[in-house]
Amino acid sequence: VNEAGPLHILLVENNNSDSEALARLMKRHDPTLRLTLTIDGDEALERLTTHGDPPNLVILDLGLTGRDGRDVLRAIKAHPNLRHIPVIVFTGSSRPTDVRNAYDAGASTFIRKPGSFEDFSRVVQVIHTYWSQAAVLPQEEAPV
């Protein structure tokens, strides 16, 4: 259990089957997990900037419809009240420029989405274990 408090993840993913699989796998490991699902960048930024109760971790796909994941990452990292929230880029891309640009823009981690369900399941489990049991996340109520 994360000694700093419960995990609240904002997922930004436009692929329904990936989104559902990730939610189902994480909830299976951790029924108390809070997961907010958004399907595009505008919805994610709207959720981050106009609601109270910010998440303490963001999982972001790069290939989104409308405003893409790279813009969302830059917007989060440029926002004084959001920039401390770690952003995991979780994407089908493995282009070296996407990897470098994501880290340069302040992504916490770049993780490539595996193709097979077995590997996807393992990756999601490791992400959850790392952030819920090893990492300490900011918990303060960020004024937005």
């Binding site: 770690p86 493995s94 993780i111 990756v123 090893a134 300490v136 996340l137």
Partner: protein
């Protein structure tokens, strides 16, 4: 899960010999033979990074204590994250602190993860193994920083 795993050079910035020992042992238990360099204070860390940058062999991952002699961990983190060549290297703060102030400050400065060192030996080993599994097996690190010859020998662990 990627099959093309290559050894990653890890820079550990830590002044406590006991914590260095545990980290080395936990990393050796992993399935990949990563190369570990150790800096024993913040000043040495910055010197090693400057030399590695000159040689084009920056580490793939940095584990950073906060409470360090000479130059503190926060200053080391700031120096890394404002440098155009080094900022993309993932930095994991591994510290005895769990103060919210330190957590928020380091994330604001761009730390990739803040981790509080567990007190017990077994828990510490488990956390280092989790770090290794997450960063070496699951994550994709910036491509130009994998592998490469060892640039610095001053603080290398035998």
């Amino acid at each position: 899960v990627p099959r093309d795993l290559q050894p990653v050079q890890i820079l550990l910035v830590e002044d406590n010999p006991h914590d260095i020992e545990i980290t080395v042992r936990a990393l050796k238990k992993g399935q990949i033979r990563n190369e570990l360099l150790v800096a024993r204070d913040g000043e040495q860390a910055l010197e090693m990074l400057a030399a590695a940058r000159e040689a084009g062999t920056l580490p793939g991952l940095i584990l950073l204590d906060l409470n360090l002699p000479k130059v503190g961990g926060i200053e080391v983190l700031e120096a890394i994250k404002r440098d155009a060549d080094m900022r993309r290297i993932p930095v994991i703060v591994l510290t005895t602190s769990s103060r919210e102030e330190d957590v928020v400050r380091t994330y604001d400065l761009g730390v990739n993860t803040f981790i509080t060192k567990p007190v017990g030996f077994d828990d510490f080993m488990r956390v280092v193994s989790t770090i290794q599994e997450y960063w070496i097996i699951i994550a994709t690190l910036p491509a130009n920083q994998r592998g490469g010859p060892a640039p610095v020998h001053a603080g290398e662990v035998p």
